[in-house]
Symmetry: C2
Subunit: 268 residues, 2 copies
Amino acid sequence: AMAGWGWARAVRGLLLDVSGVLYDSGADGGVPIAGSAEAVRRIKASGLKLQLCTNETQATRESFVRKLRAMGFDISVAQVTAPAPAACRLLSQRGLRPHLLVHDDLIPEFAEIDKTNPNCVVLGDAAENFTYANLNEAFRLLIGMEKPVLISLGKGRYYKETDGLKLDVGAYMKALEYACDIQAEVVGKPAKRFFESALAELGVPPEQAVMIGDDIVSDVGGAQQCGMRAVQVRTGKYRPSDENHPEVKPDAYVNNLAEAVDIILQQL
Amino acid sequence: AMAGWGWARAVRGLLLDVSGVLYDSGADGGVPIAGSAEAVRRIKASGLKLQLCTNETQATRESFVRKLRAMGFDISVAQVTAPAPAACRLLSQRGLRPHLLVHDDLIPEFAEIDKTNPNCVVLGDAAENFTYANLNEAFRLLIGMEKPVLISLGKGRYYKETDGLKLDVGAYMKALEYACDIQAEVVGKPAKRFFESALAELGVPPEQAVMIGDDIVSDVGGAQQCGMRAVQVRTGKYRPSDENHPEVKPDAYVNNLAEAVDIILQQL
């Protein structure tokens, strides 16, 4: 057994981040990370439970899963926990009518939600929709509200696409927070409530679950705050300086998902 | 004499904010605020010193002054203290070579500065240049630097144009600060060094100067921290809620610049 992995004997379910763990995203659709599709098959074959826990907001879960399946990942829609459905539940519960500043391809997730006469703004990774005009529009709506409500689908700093690093939704969230002097409500990793939803869908308690991700704060820090173990992969947005993070220390590092699955399966 | 204005007897020089005090800016070039051009003439005629202290970064001082003169303001280039020339001094002193994310019309201010192989980013109110692609480019340059240096020309939250409120440079500064986990250096109001430059150009000590502006934080708070008196006008971006600001309290409120000048001249 690998030193430092004794805790893995208790693991009954895996939560996997997607971008940077299963594949590297990009304008071209993305490229699978070597060994990850086979690793997903080995998890299923082992009888361990599996749930994807993603802050992906550039597509509906349906089209996201189609893309993953086309890349060779044996995944179903029910195995994906993503921010937009969680945001829809929150909007319905609180009677909020959103103005959406999100990626065009995410809009169908909000089909059932009343968007007339908005009383909040929902911010996702809008990518090319992060225009000066769209940001000003979202700002004007917020500043015009008696009590501005900004719901942000994640708060990532940046992510890596095949053509380079891109600013993530968190940067634009900070811009609107500062301009309006407000605090956004984050739906998605690292929010505790979001990890709890993912665990409920995974069907195991936190002490029997491990999160595997490339983001030291959103994946590793968020999961650990819910009582889960968390492993950082050295793929995707991983940077060597993450290993000196002042606050977050993963339970283990691996070179990639395949290595994590190898080691976990050896412990069982 | 007006109650609460006794301090105005000591005033020998006025620092004026421009947008929201002399005129309301807009895509159409802007509209003078009623009485402000006459107020500037009265200041000159009184023998009081006058300097404009602006965070304007959408034009060179030369073209800015041309615009003001066309609107009827009797102002010279030497009477304008603006962030870009201050930033150029700082860049030269520290051997910094900027990547510029600024308004096209500001670029000539940096004509003498070496911009090859950038080792810092200078951020201004880039307006339509705040595109997703340009923000990603500035971010990638910063995150790629061993020690990222971000110089921001002001840190305003938003400003008012004739067609509505617009996000100001401070919002984009916060986005890049968050994405890179850095602190920007602010050149412009409310930085103390910037007000000190303006006072030096005005030629009076802080206790004999008054700042007149529409921004409770950048104009009023910044000037007061330099030992000056500060008056807020109820024009431009002024909002009634400013009068309950938790930290900043102006020495006086006026409806507009004309009223401020009326009262100050009455005290002399």
